[in-house]
Amino acid sequence: MGAAVLRKDFESLLGGQFDWQSRRAPELAPTGVSGVDIATGGLPRGALTEIFGPPSSGRTSLLHSILASATARGEVCAVVDAEDAFDPPSAAAAGVRLEHLLWVRCGHSAEQALRSADLLIQGGGFGVIALDFSETPATGVRRISLTSWFRMRRAVEHTPAVLVSVARQSNAKTCASLMLECSRANGEWSGARGTSRLLRGIGVEVARRKPGRAVAARFEAKGRG
């Protein structure tokens, strides 16, 4: 008996056509930045999201916003910090509830970061797991094989966790379900040159590179003052 016949019989038993191919749309978690949420719909749970861009492009500000949003919902989050660059006062100022945030400080080792993230995914119960490779040199992150990213993607599948990777460039390629590229549009400085000035913030442009066609959003990250 062919597969088509079996399918027809089964469908007749169910009383209609059954959609065998399409997957259930993933649940989305808001980023806390309304412009980005409108452009992307949010971050898919049980999938890998990549945030990348050059230094000072607002990647970490976006990550802090994601963590602030998740911890405000009462979710427990984790930051796996490959270069030991996470600044708790800065995160707290962004609204991250530190009592809901686990911080893993890896000693400048991408391999340690991957193994730690893998253990956290396996352990379960986290709302957001962020892998921070922002300061890791591009050559160091490129050494992570695609197999490792694929394994990570498989591990997070069917879990409610949002896995976020932050780096200078896209590394996970096909393994990422959502890719957000950050770039700095401008720096806001107040006051005249030569007098007391203040870094008021930066304008960040976020472009969705995957899935679908590119969609851009913009937000302001406020600095001192």
Binding site: P54, P88, L98, E99, H100, G123, G191, R224
Partner: protein, 413 residues
């Protein structure tokens, strides 16, 4: 319902696994109150078989008897081999063939009974109580009650402090962690079973390893929540001993559990899922083995303006300084740890060119100096001037200048 064990071995420990009311009747006899165990095991026969099974497991050789009162159980355990269960109301009939000597009468009373030809319990039980009272006094009456299996009394329970500890002296020194794990598993399983039977759990396990040629290796395992998960404890000990192995072979293992009430929590339907505490502790122990101690935890802000004013807590305490959530997205700072020593060329008293490890560029925009200082009333006084700069390499940095020179503290991102 009462049970009595008569034999050799650590009878008290087995009895304590089944009941909190245990009486050390004599050196070789232990009596326990098993009332209520029917809800756990069922019929008295099933309670008896559970106790007998446990005795076999730990290698204790003893007779066992169950009866409606402690003394009938004691008589049956001393008088009959194997396992005896006396049905309620049949005590006198059951004990009838036993010799009077089993009641351990005084020498004078034993001689009198011998002279009367009273040798079995049914013969003693059949004597009229008034006559016994007149001729043998209160002791005689007491013996008659015992012979008929009618004596009622309360157990003189052992008032032992709740101490959950166990030790194993090894036949030969153990050098590797793998064989040691088997011994640890045995101790952990025993302690967890004992804790569970008392409806208790533990938050702290202490391990003391006596080493060959003297010396002791002591470790303590602390859990954020009470648990009796033997598998998790074993894995945590394995990870701990891998990180802190004993320096010499082990000849003796001692373990103690700190008993606490188990935590019962009902999670809400709409409360987001959180990592299961014991599983999280295991995950953190595994991560600590990868990244090192003190490098995993929950950051807490300290009440200070000093740079790096935070500490790492092993478990979330909620004791840090609280910060209100801002209305808009904040510009994040990424730290260089340690700060990068910089060469700064000044132009009109302000940074004009910055060069540090991995950073080099002309200053395009700058803000500062922002002078900050603190703790001047202590020996750890600090003071520095901070600058926010945009360099020609395209990034924004925070510089600071202090007594030791110029440093790049981090970058804005």
């Amino acid at each position: 319902m009462f049970a009595c064990m008569h034999g050799t071995g650590n009878l008290t420990a087995i009895a304590a696994e089944f009941s909190p009311l245990v009486e050390q009747t004599s050196a070789d006899t232990v009596t326990l109150d098993v009332s209520g165990l029917d809800r756990l095991f069922g019929l008295p026969q099933e309670i008896a078989s559970a106790i007998a099974r446990r005795m076999r497991e730990v290698g204790v050789e003893a007779r066992l008897a169950l009866a409606s009162n402690p003394d009938a159980a004691i008589c049956a355990a001393r008088g009959f081999a194997g396992v005896s269960v006396i049905p309620y109301g049949d005590e006198a009939k059951f004990l009838a063939p036993l010799p009077v000597s089993i009641l351990a009468p005084s020498a004078e009373l034993a001689e009198t009974l011998e002279r009367w030809g009273i040798r079995r319990l049914h013969e003693l039980g059949a004597l009229p109580p008034l006559g016994i009272a007149e001729r043998l006094g209160p002791e005689g009456l007491r013996l008659r009650e015992l012979a008929r299996g009618e004596a009622e009394r309360k157990l003189a329970a052992i008032d032992e402090p709740l101490l959950f500890e166990d030790a194993v002296e090894l036949d030969y020194p153990v050098e590797l962690l793998e064989p040691l794990a088997f011994i640890l598993a045995r101790l952990i399983n025993g302690l967890c079973t004992r804790l569970a039977t008392r409806a208790l759990a533990t938050t702290e396990l202490r391990l003391r390893l006596k080493l060959e040629a003297g010396g002791v290796h002591e470790r303590t395992l602390r859990l954020p929540v009470p648990s009796t998960d033997a598998k998790a404890f074993l894995k945590l000990w394995q990870l701990d001993l891998e990180a802190h192995p004993p320096v010499r072979p082990v000849i003796d293992v001692w373990m103690q559990a700190n008993p606490v009430k188990p935590q019962a929590a009902q999670s809400g339907l709409y409360v987001p899922a959180a990592p299961e505490p014991v599983k999280l502790e295991l995950t953190l122990a595994r991560i600590r083995a990868i990244v090192g101690e003190q490098r995993v935890g929950w950051p807490e802000l300290l009440d200070t303006h000093r740079p790096e004013g935070w500490r790492m807590a092993a478990a979330p305490t909620g004791g840090g300084v609280a910060v209100a959530r801002p209305a808009s997205t904040r510009l994040a700072l990424r730290m260089y740890r340690p700060p990068r020593l910089a060469r700064v060329m000044l132009s009109a008293g302000q940074p004009g060119f910055v060069s540090a490890e991995g950073i080099r560029g002309k200053v395009l925009e700058l803000a500062g100096p922002w002078r900050s200082s603190g703790d001047w009333w202590t020996a750890q006084a600090w003071s520095r001037d901070e600058w926010d700069v945009a360099l020609s390499d395209g990034a924004l940095y925070r510089l600071f200048c202090e007594e030791r020179g110029w440093f790049v503290e981090g970058s804005y991102d």
